[in-house]
C-alpha cells in the first residue's frame, strides 16, 4: 500500500525547464510546490570535469536510463513496433534541470503564422492546399497573446540576439547583445546577403555578457568552450533551470524537490486529480502526494505516457482521427544539409551551443507556396558549436567511410569542413501518432509508449528544396567541394541523432474535440491538471522548441494561480 503524504498546493511531475519555471513563479507567490524528479539533483559543480566527449556525448551520461524505460517505434501500423533500445535520433534528459541542462540554448520564438497555421493557410491558399491526412489546426492562442510570456522567458534566461532583418518577421528586443561574429558566421552572412537573403545572428542562451536577471540571479558570460550540447556548463553561462529558476524557487522556502522518485500515475476521480502516485527508486516504496493542482512537466514524450497510464483524456484513434492524447505527434524535418570543404582552416574546435548565423527567408510563410509541393519551411543556419573529434569526421563525396583514404580526408578536413543545415517544420498527420505499446513494459510493469511515425512527401520535398538552398549558399561561400543531403530521404531512421525536438501528443487548442488543453495548458477533461511542454504544440516549426515551451510554462503558471483562486475551467 502506498503511503499518503500531506497535501501540497502544487505537485510537479519532473523538474526540468517547465517544472522549474512553474516552481519559481508559484513559490514566489507563496504557494507550496513539491517537485518529483526521477533523476538526481544536479549542480554546476558536477560540470567542472565534463569536457569528455566519450562520456557525455557518446555514452549519454546525462540522459534518461533507457534500461528502465524507453518507447517503441514503427513506421506505420502494419510494421511491428520494436523498442528504442539505445539512444539515437533524440535524447531525453534526466535529473534536476532535465534536458535544460545539456541543451544548446538556440532560442527562437515560433512565428505568428505557427499559432494560426490552419487559418493562415486557408486564407492565403484555400482549403485545397492542405493535403489529405494533414491535421493542421490553430493553437487556440496567438503570438500577440503569448508575447508577454516570451518576454518573461527571454529576461529570465538572458537571451543574446539581434533583430531579425527579414521584412514581416516579429521584431524582438533581446536583453543581451548577440554572440561574437566569427569568420564562419561572417562568411555565411556575406554569402547569403549576396544571394539576396536576410542573415542574422542566432538568438542564444549562452550568455553573451555578465547578466543579472529580474529575479536577481547573476551569471557570467560564455567562454565558447566547445563542450555545450550534451554537456552541463561549468560557468553557469548557459541558461539552465539549475542556474536560474530552481535557486529562485528554493530561496522562497516553499519548494521541495524529491529526486530519485518516478511518478507512475496521476490519480483522479470524477474529473478532478487528487495527486500523484510515485515510487522512490532507492527503496521501491510507493507514495501518494496529494495536491490541489498537478502539473505534468516530464518532457513531451513522458507527458503523453503519464496521461495514457493515468487514463486521463481520451486516447487518440488514428483510424477515425478522433480522441486527443497522442494526437499530432511531430518531429523536426532536419535532413536537408550541405557540407562544404574549404582550402583554409577555421577554428572549428572552438564554439558555443548557440553560436551561429541564419536566414528565415524560407521558413513559415515568408515565401510563396503556391507552386510548391510542401507547406511551411525551414530556417537555414550555420553553427559553430565546437567540432569534437569523435563525432566530426567529414569527408568529401566518394571517399569511403573507413581505411586510409577516410582517415586522411577526415583528419585533413577536421578544421576545414563547414555545414549548413535546414531546420525544417514537421507538420501533423493522421497516422503519425503515439499510443501505448501492447507488449513492452517499463521497470514498473507499465506499458511503454509506442511511436508510429514516418516522413511524408511533404517532408521529403521540403528537405530536398532546403538541401538545395544550403548547397547554393555553401557554393557562394567559396567551398571547393560541396556535399548535399536531403534529396534521397527514405524512411525515418531512429538510429542517428537528429534533434530532441519531439512535439505534440497533448496539444492545445480552442476545441475540446480536437485538443487536450485550453490556452492555459489546462486539461479540458480534468481542470486541475496542467500539461505545459512541447507536447502542447499542434505542429512543429522550423525552430528549436524551448522558447515557446518556456512561454507556455509562464502562461500555465498564470493559469494555475487563477485556478487556485477561482477554480473551474479558465476558458
Amino acid at each position: 500500500m502506498a503511503t499518503k503524504l500531506p497535501k501540497t498546493d502544487i505537485v510537479l511531475v519532473g523538474v526540468g525547464w517547465v517544472g522549474g519555471i512553474i516552481a519559481a513563479e508559484l513559490t514566489k507567490k507563496g504557494y507550496k510546490v513539491v517537485g518529483i524528479e526521477r533523476g538526481k539533483e544536479r549542480s554546476t559543480e558536477d560540470y567542472f570535469m565534463a569536457h569528455d566527449e566519450l562520456r557525455y556525448a557518446d555514452r549519454k551520461e546525462m540522459m534518461q536510463d533507457l534500461s528502465k524505460e524507453t518507447l517503441t517505434f514503427r513506421h506505420n501500423t502494419t510494421q511491428r513496433a520494436l523498442p528504442y533500445r539505445e539512444w539515437g535520433s533524440f535524447l531525453i534528459g534526466e535529473g534536476t534541470g532535465g534536458s535544460g541542462e545539456h541543451w544548446n540554448g538556440q532560442t527562437f520564438r515560433f512565428l505568428p503564422y505557427d499559432f494560426e497555421i490552419y487559418s493562415e493557410t486557408v486564407k492565403r491558399y484555400g482549403k485545397g492546399k492542405i493535403p489529405k491526412g494533414m491535421m493542421l489546426q490553430d493553437w487556440g492562442i496567438t503570438y500577440k497573446e503569448l508575447e508577454p510570456y516570451f518576454d518573461k522567458f527571454d529576461a529570465m534566461t538572458g537571451i543574446g540576439g539581434e533583430p531579425n532583418p527579414l521584412p514581416g518577421s516579429p521584431q524582438v528586443k533581446y536583453p543581451n547583445p548577440p554572440m561574437l561574429e566569427t569568420p564562419v558566421t561572417a562568411l555565411f552572412k556575406s554569402a547569403t546577403k549576396d544571394l539576396g537573403y536576410h542573415p542574422y545572428h542566432m538568438p542564444s542562451n549562452n550568455l553573451t555578457q555578465p547578466y543579472t536577471n529580474p529575479d536577481g540571479i547573476a551569471r557570467s558570460a560564455c567562454q565558447y568552450c566547445g563542450f555545450c550540447e550534451r554537456f552541463g556548463c561549468e560557468y553557469g553561462a548557459k541558461a539552465s533551470p539549475v542556474v536560474t529558476v530552481l535557486p529562485v524557487a528554493k530561496e522562497t522556502g516553499n519548494f521541495e524537490v524529491r529526486p530519485h522518485c518516478v511518478v507512475r500515475k496521476v490519480l483522479h476521480t470524477n474529473g478532478k486529480a487528487t495527486g500523484v502516485l510515485y515510487v522512490d527508486t532507492r527503496t521501491g516504496e510507493e507514495f501518494i502526494q496529494e495536491a490541489d493542482v498537478v502539473v505534468v512537466s516530464a518532457y513531451q514524450m513522458n507527458n503523453i505516457k503519464l496521461l495514457l497510464n493515468s487514463q486521463l483524456g481520451r486516447p487518440y484513434d488514428p483510424v477515425t482521427g478522433t480522441g486527443v492524447i497522442g494526437r499530432n505527434y511531430a518531429y523536426q524535418t532536419y535532413l536537408g544539409t550541405a557540407v562544404g570543404f574549404f582550402d583554409k582552416d577555421f577554428n572549428m574546435y572552438a564554439g558555443a551551443g548557440a553560436l551561429g548565423a541564419q536566414i528565415d527567408d524560407f521558413n513559415g510563410d515568408f515565401f510563396d507556396h503556391t507552386d510548391l509541393d510542401f507547406l511551411h519551411g525551414a530556417t537555414i543556419h550555420i553553427t559553430q558549436l565546437g567540432d569534437r573529434p569523435i563525432a566530426n569526421n567529414h569527408v568529401p563525396p566518394n571517399v569511403p567511410s573507413w581505411g586510409k583514404e577516410f582517415k586522411d580526408a577526415s583528419v585533413q578536413n577536421a578544421n576545414r569542413a563547414l555545414i549548413i543545415k535546414a531546420q525544417g517544420a514537421s507538420l501533423p498527420w493522421q497516422d503519425n501518432y503515439i499510443d501505448q505499446d501492447p507488449t513492452y513494459k517499463d521497470a514498473f510493469g507499465d506499458p511503454l509508449l509506442r511511436m508510429t511515425f514516418n516522413w511524408k512527401d511533404q517532408d521529403r520535398q521540403l528537405m530536398k528544396f532546403m538541401g538545395e538552398k544550403c548547397a547554393e549558399i555553401m557554393k557562394q561561400m567559396g567551398a571547393k567541394e560541396v556535399k548535399m543531403t536531403g534529396d534521397e530521404i527514405g524512411d525515418y531512421d531512429i538510429r542517428n541523432y537528429q534533434s530532441t525536438h519531439n512535439t505534440g501528443g497533448v496539444i492545445m487548442g480552442a476545441d475540446p474535440e480536437t485538443s487536450a488543453l485550453n490556452s492555459y495548458l489546462q486539461m479540458w477533461d480534468c481542470e486541475n491538471v496542467f500539461v505545459p511542454g512541447a507536447s502542447a504544440f499542434a505542429q512543429n516549426s522550423g525552430y528549436n522548441p524551448t522558447n515557446t515551451v518556456g512561454a507556455l510554462a509562464y502562461r500555465a503558471a498564470e493559469g494555475i494561480e487563477k485556478y487556485l483562486k477561482t477554480g473551474g475551467s479558465l476558458v
Binding site: 557518446d58 555514452r59 567562454q223 573529434p389 567511410s401 573507413w402 577536421a414 531512429i494
Partner: protein
C-alpha cells in the same frame, strides 16, 4: 633527464627468442612481444609488410580472453584507421586497449540500454534489436572474422594480408557474413564507431595515446576558454590538454 624506464623492444625479444629481426611471422601481426612503451624506431617488424604494427600485452586484458582475440581486433581496427604518413593508426593509438576496457564496462554489458524481450528482427532504421550485449557481439564478431579468414584464405584473420583483411571487413560492412543473433553490418558499425572513439577519446580511457589522435586533428582537448580564439581569422594552434593530466 631522469633515467628512462627499461623498454623491451621488439628487437630485444626477437633476439632473445632467436627469431630473426625483420621476419614477418605468418605475414601478419605478432602480438604479445613488446612492452607498452616501445622504442619508436623499433616499431616495425618490416617495412614491406602491410600490417606490421606492434601490439603489446603489457596493458593487460579486462575483456579479451586471449592474445588471438586481441590480435584480431587490433588488425581490424588498424585497417579501419591505419598508420600512415599523416600519423599513427589504431594500434599505436591504443585503440585495442580502449576497446578492451569499454567492453569490460557499462558499454559492453549494455547496462543503460533497454534489453528486455521479446526480441525480433526489425527494419535497419528501427535500430539495435539484438538480444546480445555489445561484449557478446564483439566476441562473436572476432570469432567470425577468424572463421571467414580461414574459409577464404586458410589462415587466421591476423595472418592474412592487409588487402585480404579489407575484403573481409567490406563483406562484414555489406552484411554478407552470417552471424548469430546480430548482423555483420551491425557488428561492423559498432567496430568502426569504437575505433574512432578509441582514436579520439580522452587518453584516460586507454586510447588516443600521447594525445596523438588529437594532435593529428589539431584538436586542443580540454581547454577552459576560447573566448580569445573564437573571432580570430587565422587558425590558432593550441597544445592539447587532457582531462586527467598526462
Amino acid at each position: 633527464m631522469t633515467e628512462k624506464p627499461k623498454n623491451y623492444s621488439r628487437r630485444d625479444f626477437l633476439k632473445t627468442t632467436g627469431i630473426a629481426t625483420g621476419a614477418l611471422i605468418g605475414g601478419g601481426l605478432i602480438g604479445g612481444l613488446v612492452g607498452l612503451n616501445v622504442d619508436k624506431d623499433d616499431q616495425h617488424v618490416s617495412d614491406t609488410g602491410n600490417t606490421n604494427h606492434e601490439m603489446g600485452t603489457n596493458g593487460g586484458f579486462q575483456f579479451f580472453q586471449n592474445q588471438r582475440e586481441f590480435n584480431v581486433i587490433s588488425n581490424a581496427t588498424e585497417r579501419i584507421f591505419p598508420k600512415d604518413d599523416i600519423g599513427p593508426g589504431a594500434i599505436d593509438l591504443g585503440v585495442p586497449y580502449f576497446i578492451d576496457r569499454q567492453l569490460a564496462g557499462q558499454y559492453g554489458s549494455n547496462t543503460k540500454e533497454y534489453m528486455q524481450g521479446p526480441f525480433a528482427v526489425g527494419a535497419k532504421t528501427q535500430g539495435y534489436q539484438s538480444r546480445l550485449t555489445r561484449a557478446s557481439i564483439f566476441r562473436q564478431g572476432i570469432a567470425v572474422l577468424d572463421e571467414e579468414a580461414n574459409k577464404r584464405f586458410e589462415k587466421g584473420f591476423s595472418s592474412i594480408e592487409a588487402e585480404q583483411m579489407d575484403e573481409i571487413l567490406t563483406a562484414f560492412q555489406n552484411d554478407e557474413i552470417p552471424m548469430t543473433g546480430v548482423t555483420s553490418a551491425f557488428f561492423f558499425r559498432l567496430l568502426r564507431t569504437a575505433t574512432l572513439e578509441g582514436a579520439y577519446a580522452d587518453p584516460m580511457y586507454g586510447g588516443n595515446r600521447n594525445m596523438d589522435g588529437w594532435k593529428m586533428k589539431e584538436f586542443p582537448g580540454h581547454q577552459m576558454s576560447y573566448i580569445n580564439v573564437i573571432d580570430k581569422e587565422k587558425f590558432q594552434k593550441i597544445a592539447p590538454q587532457p582531462l586527467g593530466g598526462m
